[in-house]
């Protein structure tokens, strides 16, 4: 029992020791290991970007944007139909998923009594949906289209598949953004005689908009890059016309890339790489936009 007592009045001892400090061998080694891990990840990104760029730079031209794909002239084949197709599908996805996701997020975060089993069930369900493989959403949509007799390879079907895919992501990021709004703001509004709905509509939701926007943009950029669910819908590969509506056939950038890269001619490999660069560019822009919104409009509570 004297362990502490005996030491309680030690002779004044120098404060200098190196053994336990942040400069010990183990600490430095640990830090180096952390750096190495991060460097690996960043390096992988850089290598990926650089190799894509090297392969495709020669075909980064106007024709890539304005021409349709061509079987006869692969050297001037373009991604026009794919770009427009991606635009159509992503817009459809956004229109379907964002309002629905925000509404669901608002309900769960602001109104649901999470002691009720059905709300708990919905919550668990959403977190499980977030982990469902993308390709399964393609199968769901294919099955659904079959059941109602809808054509599978149209813009609407693609939009539905991708919207279902990103719905959980949007719900979850909406909830996070709402959760970051301090309780005091809600209380302040309620105490002034605002209804809960007014409080959400005029205070909580506006404050959460940057967070929701960030989450939605990132989710859409994921949808933009998805090919697997669309393949399940029998995505068209050779489209030489502009999609012109929800029931129009379409192709998208990732599918076009997948198709080009599968063709024998070297010119197709090049245009595939150029389209990859185009897509990475789009993706970087969307990410940058999301980060910009996150940093610029982040509320300092």
């Amino acid at each position: 029992m004297a362990t502490i007592g005996a030491l309680a009045t030690p002779p004044p001892r120098a404060l200098r020791t190196a053994k336990h400090g942040d400069t010990s061998f183990a600490s430095i080694g640990f830090l180096i290991a952390l750096w190495a891990a991060l460097a690996f990840a960043v390096l992988a990104l850089v290598v990926l970007l650089v190799t894509s760029f090297i392969d495709g730079a020669s075909r980064l031209d106007g024709a890539l944007l304005t021409n349709y794909t061509s079987q006869v002239f692969p050297e001037t084949a373009g991604a026009r139909a794919a770009i427009l197709g991606s635009a159509w599908v992503i817009s459809t996805t956004a229109l379907l998923a964002i309002p629905l996701g925000i509404a669901a997020g608002v309900y769960l975060e602001e109104f649901a009594d999470n002691r009720k089993w059905w709300n708990k069930f919905i919550e668990t369900n959403i977190s499980n949906l977030a982990a469902v493989p993308a390709i399964v959403y393609g199968m769901l949509t294919a099955g659904f289209a079959l059941a109602i007799g809808m054509e599978r390879r149209i813009v609407l079907a693609g939009g539905i598949a991708l919207a279902l895919l990103i719905l959980p992501v949007i719900i979850i990021s909406t909830r996070e953004a709402l959760r970051a709004v301090p309780q005091e703001i809600r209380q302040g509004s309620i105490a002034l005689g605002a209804t809960p709905l007014q409080t959400v509509w005029r205070q909580t939701l506006p404050s959460a908009v940057p967070g929701i926007a960030t989450g939605s943009i990132l989710a859409l950029s994921r949808a933009l890059g998805e090919a697997a669910p669309l393949l399940l819908l029998g995505g068209l590969v050779f489209v030489t016309y502009d999609p012109n509506g929800l029931f129009s056939g379409f192709t998208t950038l990732p599918i076009q890339i997948f198709n080009w890269a599968g063709q024998p001619q070297l010119e197709f490999q090049q245009v595939a790489s150029a389209a990859i660069i185009l897509m990475l560019g789009l993706l970087l822009i969307m990410n940058a936009l999301a980060i910009f919104i996150r940093n610029r409009f982040q509320n300092r509570w």
Binding site: L38, I122, A142, G225, A227
Partner: protein, 297 residues
């Protein structure tokens, strides 16, 4: 926000909002039914036991055989390899970003890492096929792999899910109250020990959740494995061999012949159902584990 007595208009809005949330349940049921009906037809013809235990997968050949073990082994290996890369790299990155990086660097690096998660998987697939397999594995590391191998697909899959692990784990560690770190420093612990013994254990439920999500991503990823793992559906014993995953089979077969009602079509959905049930099981078990860990402290 529980009770309140909203006006009629508000009640309608509330019902609409609830409906939106309930959509997710409809989607789940939809997935389940969409997968179930063709699967039932499949299992009318194929004995489920043979399906789950058979080691020859040749559903579309004249001498057809429906043992799904080869596909499961392909998925197992790509997932295992992917996670073995992503977990250490992801966690170490998360620790650095949350505990060591100056605010400014963190603000730059975290989104940079997240870009990795957003790169289309088609792009990753070609990266594995044209760069990782020939240059990194064969030339640089001297590991003899063919053009297609579960190793190259798994590694690139791992790169793709690094940010899933890193980002969510970083969130979990950043959420550990500063008070705990201060408590540790005030006892004379250095930064490494504080990180490893206080922050890391305190964030363990969030970290587990991030790993589970990464695991689901890996199991469900399609284009990388479809492009880079190969399409030979044999049981994989050696990761330098080619192999086929469940998702790879679905993608390959669905792009071709998949007329509703045919046995091939039903086979697709049976594999899809299996895939769905596997990810669901992983998540439910993980949910229980995460809750258990959290309750303990």
């Amino acid at each position: 926000m529980a009770k309140s007595s909203p006006r009629t208009g508000e009640k309608i809005v509330m019902v609409v909002l609830f409906g939106a949330a309930a959509t997710s349940v409809v989607v789940t049921i939809g997935i389940f039914l969409a997968l179930l009906f063709p699967s039932i037809n499949f299992f009318r013809e194929i004995n489920p036991i043979d399906f789950l235990t058979g080691t020859r997968w040749a559903p579309t050949f004249a001498d057809a055989s429906f043992g799904v073990v080869p596909l499961i082994s392909g998925t197992f290996w790509t997932t295992l390899i992917g996670l073995s890369l992503a977990i250490p790299i992801g966690l170490a990155s998360a620790v650095y970003l949350s505990e060591y990086a100056p605010q400014r660097i963190r603000k730059i690096l975290k989104p940079v890492l997240e870009i990795l998660a957003g790169i289309p998987s088609v792009v990753y697939g070609y990266f594995a096929l044209f760069f990782v397999a020939p240059f990194i594995l064969n030339d640089l590391l001297g590991i003899n792999v063919g053009t297609f191998s579960v190793l190259s697909a798994g590694l690139v899959l791992g790169i793709m899910i690094i940010p899933t692990v890193a980002s969510l784990s970083e969130d979990a560690m950043s959420a550990v109250p500063q008070a705990l770190r201060q408590g540790s420093y005030a006892l004379g612990a250095n930064k490494m020990r504080t990180t490893l013994r206080v922050v890391f254990p305190a964030a363990i439920s969030g970290i587990t959740a991030s790993i589970v999500l990464a695991l689901s991503r890996a199991v469900g990823e399609t284009m990388i494995v479809a492009l880079a793992a190969g399409t030979r559906a044999s049981v994989v014993n050696d990761p330098t061999d080619a192999g086929q995953t469940m998702t790879g089979f679905i993608a390959q077969t669905a792009t071709g012949e998949s007329t509703p009602g045919s046995l091939t079509y039903n086979t697709l959905f049976a594999v899809g159902l299996l895939l769905f049930l596997i990810t669901l099981t992983i998540n439910i078990i993980a949910g229980i584990i995460v809750r258990r860990i959290r309750e303990e402290y």
